[in-house]
Assembly symmetry: D4
Homo-oligomer: 225 residues x 8
């Protein structure tokens, strides 16, 4: 039944510079297997995001064995990875609890061939933790700041570094913070100029946004040479 329900966009890399990833949430196991069939037929590798352990179990055994799965971020790599370029992305996270997001960022970047460097558990309630790492963070052209609850971190970072600063709100919290809406709104309202935002928990998108910046740098450097 799933066959006519799938139309992969294999032309995406040609248009925008990186391949389509598979958003697994809500897909049936038959659909996921059919997607893997098509990838194999095209000789393509795949990144699957938001793949639940239950979905993983349902994949055909031949595919399951070829998949590198990380359960906290629920990301899966199918097929061989390309080499990893040196880190130009800093991932700064307010809390340890946000691992499901910052690992998704790092894994997405890695899938597309980019290294990254993590600065974790540096929330502003103990601001010394951030201040002593600012010089290291600054050396990256792109800084992704992951923060839940009150999400004060992106504003502080955005006021201290001149790099591209991308905020990712996270959903971990309770009371008014449950689901991450306050974190999202706090970053959207940031008093630091030019901090951009992605959807709550969208580590995948943040990595893609960072890669768009790196591509812009690379195209420009290439032109300059």
């Amino acid at each position: 039944m799933a066959d006519h329900e799938i139309t992969l966009d294999f032309q995406r890399a040609g248009r925008i510079g990186f391949e389509e990833a598979i958003f697994s949430q809500g897909k049936t196991v038959e659909q996921l297997n059919e997607i893997l069939n098509r990838a194999r037929a095209h000789g393509a590798a795949l990144l699957l995001t938001r793949l639940s352990p239950l979905q993983l179990e349902g994949l055909a055994a031949e595919y399951r064995g070829l998949i590198d799965y990380e359960p906290v971020s629920r990301t899966a790599f199918y097929g061989p990875l390309r080499p990893e370029a040196p880190s130009r992305i800093a991932i700064v996270a307010a809390g340890t609890s946000d691992a499901f997001v910052f690992r998704e960022i790092a894994r997405t970047a890695r899938y597309y061939g980019h290294g990254s460097t993590q600065f974790i558990d540096v929330g502003v309630a103990g601001i010394w933790r951030l201040l002593e790492k600012v010089e290291l963070i600054k050396q990256h052209p792109v800084v992704i700041v992951v923060a839940g609850m009150d999400a004060a971190l992106p504003t502080v970072v955005g006021g201290l570094v001149g790099s591209v600063v991308i905020g990712v709100p996270t959903s971990n919290g309770y009371g008014v913070a449950a689901g991450g809406q306050p974190a999202l709104n706090a970053i959207l309202s940031s008093c630091a100029p030019g901090v951009t935002v992605l959807n709550i928990d969208n580590g995948y998108g943040a990595a893609c946004a960072a890669i768009r910046v790196l591509h812009a740098i690379d195209r420009s450097s290439g032109a300059a040479r």
Copy 2:
């Protein structure tokens, strides 16, 4: 018509330590004049909050002349002020635009006899502004932090000082920040432990909360002596 519509709580100071103030928003001019009649009859002074210029104009001339009005905070003092005690309240505000709130705090404290010290325009997008004043701020047993937009300031302050920290979100903003809900939610979700909150723009309440703390200190010191 307004006569039976008013029941002042002249017993409040006896119960909780400070007198009722008049929340003017939504009251008719007749009602406000009747309230002033009653205060005069009791020989009482009055603090009126959220008194619009239009309402002020509508007051009986005999009262208008006795009123000290500050238009940005829309606060009015009727009757003689008690003496001002030395400042034990720090008012820390992220932005100049929040004057309508931080002036209400200072004026309310003043009405009830308490001095205060202001540290304004020290938002965390330029965090040096706050850091160079932390030692001064710390010397106050109560610190009221006023912040709109992303309201990152209360968390940073709450992580740096051990005083009682009270956050007041403000409504000045636009887009998702219009009305102050994100600022409120950010303070409620603060990662700094024990930061309490009041309603958006509630400078009056913040001053009262501070005074409750000062009363607790004074009662305790008195008992200790």
Copy 3:
């Protein structure tokens, strides 16, 4: 993997007077074990909040045996407790169903060395229950009022006692009250002056706010002596 994901703030007590607690929600078992490793290495005790039974089970056996766990509040003490000071905190709760919050307050206060006294199930639908206890409640410099649903209790208490009054809305309810937003908004809108609020279900924060007040009292009494 969890190793670089943790940066404990062991300097917090020096800055603000009490140590960092561990917010367990969303943390993996590996991360929690690594945190306990670090605490042991520093010879530190720990308070863990929002620790689920499942997380508890996942802790290393050596730690699990040293933990005092209360399942309704989901709080855990690791390591020896300091002595308990006489109660200066009244915990007033509208309903029996709010035990998951009022027990978190009492346990947090206890962890930091403070006793507390509970007045439970005194909601205003039967207001005699509160009125007959007002004199006892008044004797505490800090009163924490826990209330869900319509949260009318903090206003009534705030109008009857001059102590510091801190409201904690709770999430237990249904229909519009599910999640606790109406309780939160009711306390934020309280007609009693100077009642402050914490996030929904934030018993931990309420205890910390109370301790900030007690510290202010103690510092001031010390200075006065």
Copy 4:
């Protein structure tokens, strides 16, 4: 143009016991004049609610002269009033500022021939004001409680009197209370059993609900005789 846009429900009193009133908000002046033409043609009196001063001015002079208008409640009576029956409705209001609602209740009841008794400015932040009037309030079979902000009053009243208790939230407030949603939600979540609610500021509806109860009493008494 307005002619075919109006279909008055002159049969309503026959069906449910009281006549249609005209909700004026959003109607053009031509439409209102046409409605008055029809009422005159039927020899009917009319109650107009939410009639703005600007709309009033736009009415034909012949009608304007026959109208009794109260500007705070924005209610208008057209035509002769029926006699007033003794009061069986208590109107209890937390604040003076809610006059635009409690006057609408009293005026609507009056239009339909029912007296009412007002107990105003008896909010629970000074609970003695309510307690000293409970015995008087109890004597009314229907008690309408008007309250904005945290709307704690309906719960306290509902726990003290056995009459029919109808809550009306009001929109006067600021911050989270602006617009009256917290007041509405607080009454909906009331811990006092059997307190019903109407839309924010719906004084007209509250009076109608009270009249339905009085009709039920009267029909039943009639049957009993």
Copy 5:
């Protein structure tokens, strides 16, 4: 531990005419058993609402045997029931799926000694179902209308009958209707005059509101005789 956490309001019937019921949601099994201990000690019967099957199982065997439990409404009667008076309450429900609410109404009324008559599955998408029952419905002094989704039924009923009309929105639905907020808002916005509302799914409260009306009728008839 649960002992000091319970303060039953055994005086409620004296004040308002019916006894306190136990809202079971969120209570621990120990707390429920302690409540039953107290009821037994006072020789009181009890109504427990929102009692989950899991909570029921946890009750002491001695109590479980004396309980009449209905699982769809999750209501439990403990102790002997008083006799049932003839039905003066019509329960009109739009859909079969709302059984969890309309059965709670009927059971609550029954617990307090009142009969009721049900008119179920008469939603307005097939309006003949309602129209052919209007004459029967009208004979009841109180009509409770239960409706979810678009909740059009209370307005239609309110325009057809002169009885007291009480609306109860229900949470059963999906998309925007999930949770019942649109049903609640629709009834609050009803164009039929004097329709009152309770919280979403609050069948217990609706029955209590109906009983308040019946008491008002009875008190009045008594006076008339």
Copy 6:
């Protein structure tokens, strides 16, 4: 400055069967004049929606004279109108106050050459008004139902007629109904099958949706002949 800010879609009629209309809200007067310049240059007529009286005044005199403006619906016709086809659209509206919407529907239909028939002020609180017109309404292949507040009318109509039924919620209301969200949600949750919805107050869109249906009928009939 406005010149490069406008790119009219003169190819729209070729693609979808009717021409682009100009949504005037938020446009400057210079922009509107430039749009009219372009229309004149193409010999095109124009429909302008949401044109405020202030914007109308700002138009160049040469254009203002050629415009047919209706102020309640804020619609303007520029240029000659095409002939009017017989009515196949019924516009059914719950209230007189919704004229700003139902006139926009009728005027939009008229601009595109379609007649329509209005059935106004037939809300379900007096359901006889609707029932006596059902046979007339049914004769139209498309029925647009305009309703604010509780928006019960579309469900009742959708259960009585087999035509295409399109609901338009309106923003006129107060309290929870202000802005029209409950009306929108009520129609979205309609228990009558196959009732579709447009944005609040979107009379223009409703007329366009009706025209799409009429085109489908006409294309099909053409094919059938």
Copy 7:
């Protein structure tokens, strides 16, 4: 107990052209069995929507054997199907993950005797997928567009085809998109004229809306012949 709780509307097809379907969500198993009893007694077939696997299992064995169940859409056909007419409905879906909705549309259409054609996984992030199918889509008088997340697809389709365009937002998503509210609001705000909307995930309603259009076409063609 369920017997008086069911009032089927067997007259619906006579009024509006298609039979009532059973919305199973929230119904007890007894109620569903009773509904099937009644259908059998009338010799009627039935469509059951939102029937969970657990409910299916609970049906009487005699019914379960006669039911054609599709688990992703949770739809069930009871009784013999009528013949399928040629497809005049295009179902266009942005994503594979929306199968639970687009299959409900196709199955509902099929139940009522209408074929349909699917164009799946043609979201606008790879717009070539849609553009290459526009000519095929256009040949259908009704186009149902299913889209979650940002729901950009209905606007693009609505700007490219002149058919009746009906949007169905879906709930599959995360962060702000969880639950489908942004998709709903995006379609309601569509810049393409005359795109109508149904409730989130309401595939059943979309099929019914399409059938109303097809009936209008058929009645009109019939009249033309």
Copy 8:
């Protein structure tokens, strides 16, 4: 009074590469004049955003004469402008009505020395308008997409170009779209990978985000050379 209320951050350019701008909304005229005094004293130029015509009028005459004000975007330049670098920023806007935002972007970029190129009124309801400009748009390393209502444009652009894509939702709309929340949520939920977002109407921030990217390119090219 305003003197101590201002603490300008003249060190910002040193930290992050561009100077502080003045957010004028909510500032009093005295505060704005004092800010200009300080700028003059430092010999600094200033960008003022969200400066209302009323505020402009209130500035000291000496300043007003030196200000270049654009009323639609409400932006003001004080002091001499630096030279304009060639355009590397594409500003793509769905509608003419969004001029208040896209002009703020262009003016902010210009103030900081960056040219930009505008592609306006290219919404996806007439997608040919965008498709014929894609090649031009692609040549810019940064593309800012401005869109209100359903905000479908950023997704389509993000799927067609590999540049950095930054979305800015706008508040112009009505019904559910009023205020811009659906546009914001649509961009946050974008199916095109790596599209980032700013607050509703935040043209200033979008320009700053673009400049951060250009700085990253320039720093990198500099390093490469």
